[in-house]
């Protein structure tokens, strides 16, 4: 049987079994009924035949015995005595209103009235009747004035017929049961390859691409298994090729990003030298130089984001867990980027185990996105609720339609293609990848005309307060002298 997964008897198997049983029951019943009826008919005819023979003999004997000159009563007595010696029947005689009988339970009056009428007309006749629950074949005839009735008991005959019936019924029941068993077996053996194939298809669907069916015989199922395996081969090949292509593409992206890094590093340096001399440039050179500086900054962001996303794709993102205070981190991030006067920050400090650098990047990407698309009035809230820790970034900008919302985390997706912002188009995708790397999620709510809200949700481990130390807990430094020129 299948080693892939336990086979559940399906409806088809049940139906096949039932059909088998029905066919067996119907044909068996017809056969049994037919043979029973034939047997019964012949036995009953046989019984009548024998009874009539015996009766004719009896009547001849009676006509001899009942001949005068003997007194009627005496003659009847002799007749009954003589007949009683013969077994198999009881005799009742009715002569001139007098009844005689060879058995105490039998009387001439018990003969069925139809029979009596026929006998009185002088015919030899028979009819079946029951006396005290015992079946009799009654044969009647007339000898001069006397009506003679011979009661042949048929109890044994009917017993035998009853037995035959019981045997046939039991046989029929057995036949149906055997048919059911055979049907189930046949159905099971026939359908086993189907069950195996469906288990194999299921495991293929679950991603076990190496799943194959055992090669069958030369029947239809064998052919089926062969074509199933061909399909699985093709599928496995396709998927391998696809993921190979995807890996190649990712490698290419990564290579491109890394190759760009060197010239971009040079450009960034050159731009910072250039930007110090913008004031002293002739007016016609100054604007282009400013644009060059700005575009280089954009190019730098793009290359950095490309590198980051290719690193995330390659699964190279090392997560460095350490205790992080969410409120402090958010405050530092906002200050470091000079957004303090454009973003309203509120919320309680929440300490969690996370990766500081990645968290900072997520927050910066979300806030940067809000500032770019939402314009002024960006609100940032941190805290923890029943679900975990959260950072909520809300803007009151244009908002997004549901179609845009659906694709907002796609790479290089821009809700408004005509808008060429300073972002790389990868910020939200990177934020989401990072959030997932930290075991979190980013939820987004947006309504056209009302604004958008991005909520970073992070898992909160069993809360434990910072260990009490007598040292100062370093907040952000207030000294802005060494402002790192960040993103």
């Amino acid at each position: 049987m299948s080693a892939l997964s336990p086979i559940r008897p399906g409806r088809l198997r049940r139906r096949l079994t039932i059909a088998f049983m029905l066919v067996a029951a119907l044909s068996g019943a017809a056969l049994a009924a037919g043979s029973y009826l034939v047997a019964r008919e012949s036995r009953l005819d046989d019984s009548v035949e024998r009874a009539l023979d015996q009766s004719r003999f009896n009547l001849e004997f009676a006509s001899a015995v009942l001949a005068p000159p003997q007194s009627r009563t005496e003659a009847v007595r002799q007749l009954l005595d003589a007949l009683e010696r013969r077994s198999g029947f009881a005799t009742a005689v009715s002569v001139e209103g007098q009844d005689f009988s060879s058995s105490i339970s039998i009387r001439a009056a018990q003969a069925p009235p139809d029979l009596v009428a026929q006998v009185r007309r002088g015919q030899l006749a028979y009819q079946r009747t029951e006396v005290a629950g015992v079946p009799y074949l009654v044969v009647g005839g007339r000898v001069s004035e006397a009506e003679l009735y011979f009661f042949f008991t048929e109890a044994q005959l009917f017993d035998e017929l009853g037995q035959l019936r019981t045997i046939l019924l039991v046989g029929l029941a057995l036949l149906v049961l055997v048919a059911g068993g055979v049907g189930a077996l046949v159905a099971r053996r026939t359908l086993a390859p189907v069950a195996e194939a469906s288990a194999a298809a299921r495991s293929l669907a679950e991603g076990l691409l190496a799943t194959r069916l055992p090669p069958g015989g030369r029947d239809e199922f064998g052919a089926w298994a062969a074509s199933f395996n061909e399909m699985a081969d093709a599928l496995e090949g396709k998927i391998a090729a696809l993921s190979e292509a995807q890996a190649r593409e990712r490698r290419f992206t990564s290579d491109v990003a890394h190759e760009l890094r060197t010239p971009v590093t040079a450009l960034v340096g050159e731009a910072s030298l250039l930007s110090e001399h913008l004031d002293r440039m002739p007016p016609e050179a100054r604007r282009p130089a400013e644009l060059v500086v700005a575009d280089i900054a954009r190019l730098r962001r793009l290359v950095e984001d490309l590198m980051e996303i290719s690193r995330l794709d390659a699964g190279q993102g090392a997560v460095r867990l350490e205790p992080v205070d969410l409120a402090t981190l958010v405050g530092t991030t906002i200050r470091a980027r000079g957004w303090s006067d454009r973003v309203r920050v509120e919320g309680a400090g929440t300490v969690l185990e996370s990766d500081r650098r990645r968290l900072e990047q997520i927050v910066a990407n979300l806030v940067g996105n809000a500032l770019e698309h939402g314009g002024r009035d960006v609100a940032l809230r941190t805290g923890a609720d029943g679900v975990g820790a959260f950072v909520e970034v809300e803007d009151h900008g244009g908002g997004m339609t549901p179609e845009h919302l659906q694709r907002i985390f796609d790479r290089f997706y821009k809700a408004d293609p005509s808008r060429t912002g300073s972002g790389s188009g990868l910020g939200l995708a990177i934020a989401l990848e990072n959030a997932r790397l930290l075991g979190g999620e980013i939820e987004v709510w947006s309504e056209p005309g009302r604004g958008s809200r991005f909520t970073l949700r992070l898992p909160l481990p069993v809360a434990k307060p910072l260990q009490s130390g007598d040292g100062p807990v370093a907040g952000a430094a207030q000294d802005e002298a060494h402002n790192r020129a960040g993103g």
Partner: protein, 227 residues
């Protein structure tokens, strides 16, 4: 007097622009374009700072770093391709004092260069400290353990001094980054962790079971003079 910087970078554009930026910031810059040339230059002159790219022809940045550390405790700033791989940690473990990730902006490089050199130089004269078996002499830039001289880099020395000035006090990584590395915000806390490891290897009797430089889980580090 201008501080002398040895800039090692194989890409000519980056080399030239970084040299320009450092020169404009007041450094005297010597350049080298591969690892071998870097070591030659380093041995010929005397430098206050080495800015070292990781990916170099001939001899890579790690090798150069290792060689320089064998001979000198001059501050070293690595130019790293990326910040979250082993590159950075390997560089720090080999004795680099700090790193800058490409692509970087010139002010960032200059700020790092100044910060790392401030550690090595301009210390106000200070009384010698005795912490357990250690003797720290800020004026002479010297540390002795049971009278025996221990070679520390500028960063390691500043870190030890910072911890030793307030024994038993717990320092968070952020605070140490600010005081020793001059990071205002979001410095890489691996700088602290690796420097503590290197320091332990030099000053602890048994570096695997540190008693002097203790980790306070979830918070930071402290120096326990009884250790």
């Amino acid at each position: 007097m201008d501080e002398r910087v040895l800039l090692v970078e194989d890409d000519s554009s980056i080399r030239e622009v970084a040299a320009l930026g450092l020169t404009q910031a007041g450094f005297a810059v010597t350049t080298a374009s591969d690892g071998r040339q870097a070591l030659l230059e380093f041995r010929q002159g005397s430098f206050d700072l080495v800015v070292l790219d990781v990916m170099l022809p001939e001899l890579d940045g790690f090798e150069v770093c290792r060689e320089i550390r064998r001979e000198s405790r001059v501050p070293i700033v690595m130019l790293s391709a990326r910040s979250d791989t082993v590159d950075v940690v390997v560089g720090l473990e080999l004795g680099a004092d700090d790193y800058v990730t490409k692509p970087f902006e010139l002010p960032e490089l200059v700020a790092r260069a100044r910060a790392v050199m401030r550690r090595a130089g301009e210390d106000p004269p200070e009384q010698a400290l005795a912490v357990g078996a250690l003797e720290i002499d800020p004026a002479g830039f010297e540390v002795r353990r049971d009278g025996e001289r221990i070679e520390l880099t500028a960063t390691e020395f500043r870190l030890l001094l910072e911890l030793a000035r307030r024994p038993r006090q717990v320092f968070t990584r952020e605070l140490l980054l600010e005081r020793v590395w001059s990071y205002d915000y979001l410095g890489d806390s691996r700088l602290v962790d690796v420097a503590i490891q290197r320091l332990r290897a030099k000053v602890e009797a048994d570096p695997k079971h540190p008693t002097l430089l203790q980790t306070v889980r979830g918070v930071g580090y402290r120096l326990d003079p009884s250790g």
